[in-house]
């Protein structure tokens, strides 16, 4: 808008145009640079695209309910309206510090740690079909693994091996099945399309040698994806609930009638899963328990 107005003023206003452009660029920089810097910090030393590019996700959540929840934090459009005096601080920034009536702290200037010095692989469930993994592997652990592999380490690559451990206490070699997820070198997180609701997963980040030997570096927690459809289990049991007492099994005079399931639940409004099988490469044969 500033730019447009300046152009209208014609050639005589080239100076104004340059000045306005500079202001615009400064404002853009003030907003964009901190974001970019943060993004780079989050990605670590080698910024690169770490998202699995297999799913097109809208830029932001939608729906009236989200809009209302968002309205709690809405104080007006972010765009600067005409009539706003120039040189004000960016939106959302506070005024100049007040004379402090109490002991107070201002914003923290340090950066968040890039590493915590612990080997860690964590799985978090995003939905019935996707799991998010993040990890940190300490240099010592990596060196120890490479030493152990010796000459075999030549050409080894890092990957995430995901195990189906439904109803299993995982010991490293007793999963129903597993599959490998190729990751970008240097990545520290990944979205994994596990593709199976109501299934338990565990994962290992490790080195796969050209000869096919997998040397785990770190093992994750176990997560279970949500069930995405009505349960096949139609058994019926009843309990008596009393305050401050454990539930007691009881028999109810149930007439055997069932209420039909409600249609149009929130979960069915999302995109349906593309695939019920793991999309990643190298699905291993199921192993017996």
């Amino acid at each position: 808008m500033i730019l447009g107005r300046a152009l209208d003023a014609g050639l005589g206003a080239v100076g104004t145009l340059l000045e306005c452009t500079r202001v615009l660029v400064d404002r853009l920089a003030a907003r964009v640079l901190p974001l970019a810097r943060r993004a780079v910090e989050r990605l670590g030393a080698e910024p690169q695209s770490l998202e699995t590019p297999t799913e097109a996700t809208p830029a932001r959540p939608g729906g009236p309910q989200d809009e209302v929840e968002g309205a709690k934090y809405y104080l007006g459009p972010a765009a600067e309206p005409a009539g706003r005096p120039p040189a004000a601080e960016p939106a959302g920034r506070p005024s100049a510090p007040a004379p402090a009536p109490e002991r107070v702290v201002g914003r923290e200037l340090a950066e968040l740690p890039r590493a915590y010095g612990d080997d860690r692989l964590v799985l978090l469930v995003r939905d019935p079909w996707w799991v998010y993994a993040y990890w940190e592997v300490t240099p010592n652990t990596r060196i120890a693994a490479l030493r152990e592999l010796g000459a075999e380490a030549e050409g080894a690559r890092e990957l995430v091996r995901v195990y189906d451990v439904t109803f299993i206490t995982f010991t490293g070699d007793n999963a129903w099945r597993s599959f490998d997820v190729e990751i970008t070198p240097g990545a520290d997180h990944w979205y994994v399309n596990v593709g199976r609701p109501a299934t338990s997963f565990c994962a290992e980040l490790g080195l796969l040698t050209p000869a096919g030997r997998f040397r785990p570096l770190v093992r994750s927690n176990t997560v279970t994806t949500p069930r995405s459809s009505p349960s096949p289990d139609t058994s019926v049991r009843w309990v008596e609930l009393r305050p401050n007492e454990p539930p007691v099994e009881t028999r109810a005079a149930w007439n055997g009638g069932r209420v039909p399931g409600p249609a149009g639940t929130a979960a069915t409004t999302g995109p349906s899963p593309v695939d019920e099988r793991p999309r990643s490469s190298d699905v291993h044969a199921g192993r017996s328990r």
Partner: protein, 525 residues
């Protein structure tokens, strides 16, 4: 005898926003607007129902950060200052609009509302709104419950089980501090459930919680009554499911009541419409135009042209919508009762801030619905606690992991915009827990430092920050809050590990991030 019952559940929450380091801080207005537009109008509606002895029952979830802010002396002072400015603006507006008949009545309406808000806040409740809600609970109108300590998104924190346990324990102790009785029901933040969370709720004596529709529909085994009766988890805690029909009537973009063309428009505000110099004194010190709360137009339609608001006509719509809602529930209950051998319960959970802040006529609609229900013999208004007392035999089943967010699972709080926060939240929780375990007892200074570190961890865990990042509004503030509280927690951990606590710094942190005054780090031991 009623064929069935209806349970309204309103969840009121805002993240802890208190910035003593600035005289006037923009985001504190989230609280001030919610007080003026939602909490006071709800109290007024409760008061009217109470005066008229309407046998209404309602469940209200008040989050611990909200309770803490409503009780905070600094925020109370600042709210009054904010309200004084609003009154001054409305007085000016009353004078300015005298030659403008279509707006003058509206200006008078706002002036009367703000005067009334001040009277309710100052004279009727002596600034103690949590006390007001406690009073209505004691009078039997509402069941007050609460949610996790700082609205932590529990499934994504559960890598550190102690963090989840702490969120729940502090919620229970804050509830007892404010309401003088044990906590019986729980609002899972964002309705985010995963199997096993119920056992943590059972540990502190909680009897029920809420899940979205598909949490019940996909429960194991399959519930025979669908969402129209609670189910009992193995822990003995009951789960109530959200009714999809009544939620659609309010939330649907097309059919939802709040979008009616006669209702007041949320986005048109004199903070943007009027001459800059005129509204400048009521804008933040930065001078940016923002909403003032004075809005003169109605939704009108899908157009930028907005007609002036007509309160009498809007009231008629609210009455018609209340009648429609109650009639729909009556028919729903009668239909359900035919295939059920217990009276169905229709559970209607909403964000409290929908009523009044977003949907101006919402508190009126709610009051009208409750009044109508009182004269509708087929449907009784109840709370889940009432329902469990009357129907203590419950089907045993475990809800499916679910949330009430977009797409029904965790994606709003776990996406490319906000997933980076979890490694920090988990690492800080684990590091602090390791430290706390070293101190089964501690000297005063160590105790204070550990407790303050836990406060900072709690503040970082609020699900609001991830939500704001995913909506890409107020992202900068959300990032800053996550960043600051994680860093303060880690800073205190380092100081404790080195046995090098800076007294001045600790005191400043305690004064700035001052929620949960009775917190004790030993709940992490």
């Amino acid at each position: 005898m009623a064929h069935g019952s209806l349970a309204f559940v309103l969840h009121a929450h805002l993240p802890y926003v208190r910035h003593p380091e600035h005289e006037d801080f923009l985001e504190e207005r989230w609280l001030f607007e919610a007080i003026t537009e939602t909490y006071i109008p709800l109290l007024e509606a409760l008061d009217a129902l109470d005066r008229d002895r309407v046998p209404a029952r309602l469940t209200l979830s008040l989050s611990p950060p909200l309770l803490g802010m409503l009780a905070d002396p600094l925020l109370r002072r600042r709210y009054l200052r904010h309200l004084d400015h609003l009154v001054e603006l409305a007085e000016k507006e009353e004078r300015r609009t005298r030659p403008l008949p279509e707006f003058h009545g509206l200006a008078e309406m706002y002036l009367a509302r703000f005067y009334r808000a001040r009277a309710v806040f100052l004279d009727e409740w002596q600034q103690d709104l949590t006390g007001a809600f406690r009073t209505f609970q004691e009078r039997g109108l509402i069941d007050v419950i609460t949610c996790a300590a700082t609205h932590g998104f529990l499934p994504l924190l559960s890598v550190s089980p102690a963090a989840v346990r702490a969120q729940i324990e502090v919620a229970a102790s804050e509830y007892r501090r404010f309401f003088g009785r044990p906590l019986h029901g729980f609002w899972l933040p964002e309705c985010a459930y995963q199997p096993g969370l119920d056992a943590e709720l059972a540990r502190v004596g909680i009897r029920y919680f809420f899940v979205d529709t598909h949490g019940i529909a996909n429960a194991t085994p399959r519930p025979v009554y669908g969402v129209y009766a609670p189910i009992a988890c193995d822990s003995g805690v009951a789960a109530f499911g959200r009714d999809p029909d009544s939620s659609k009537q309010v939330w649907s973009a097309e059919e939802g009541y709040p979008g009616d063309s006669w209702y007041r428009d949320f986005y048109r505000d004199i903070g943007f419409d009027l001459d800059y110099g005129y509204v400048r004194p009521y804008l933040p010190p930065t001078g940016q135009r923002i909403h003032t709360g004075v809005k003169y137009h109605r939704i009108t339609g899908k157009t930028d042209h907005k007609e002036p608001y007509d309160p009498a006509r809007a009231r008629q719509q609210a009455e018609a919508h209340a009648a429609h809602f109650v009639d729909a529930r009556r028919r729903q209950v009668e239909w359900l009762a035919r295939s059920m051998d217990r009276p169905p319960i229709i559970v209607c959970p909403y964000d409290a801030e929908l009523f009044g802040h977003w949907w101006f006529e919402g508190p009126l609609w709610l009051e009208l619905v409750l009044r109508r229900l009182a004269t509708t013999p087929e449907v009784a208004s109840v709370t889940p606690r009432d329902d469990l007392e009357r129907h203590s035999t419950v089907q045993r089943a475990t809800p499916a992991a679910s949330t009430w967010g977009w797409k029904g699972y965790n994606e709003v709080w776990l996406s490319g915009q906000n997933d980076w926060i979890y490694r920090h939240l988990h690492a800080a929780a684990d590091r602090l827990q390791t430290l706390c375990r070293r101190y089964p007892s501690a000297d005063e200074r160590t105790r204070r430092a550990l407790t303050q570190a836990l406060r900072e961890l709690f503040l970082a865990q609020a699900s609001d920050w991830a939500f704001m990042m995913s909506r890409e509004t107020t992202t900068e503030y959300a990032v800053r809050r996550t960043h600051d509280h994680v860093l303060r927690c880690l800073e205190l951990c380092t100081a404790l590990e080195r046995v090098d606590i800076d007294d001045h710094r600790l005191a400043a942190l305690e004064d700035s991030d001052n929620l949960f005054p009775t917190l004790d780090y030993r709940l992490l031991v």
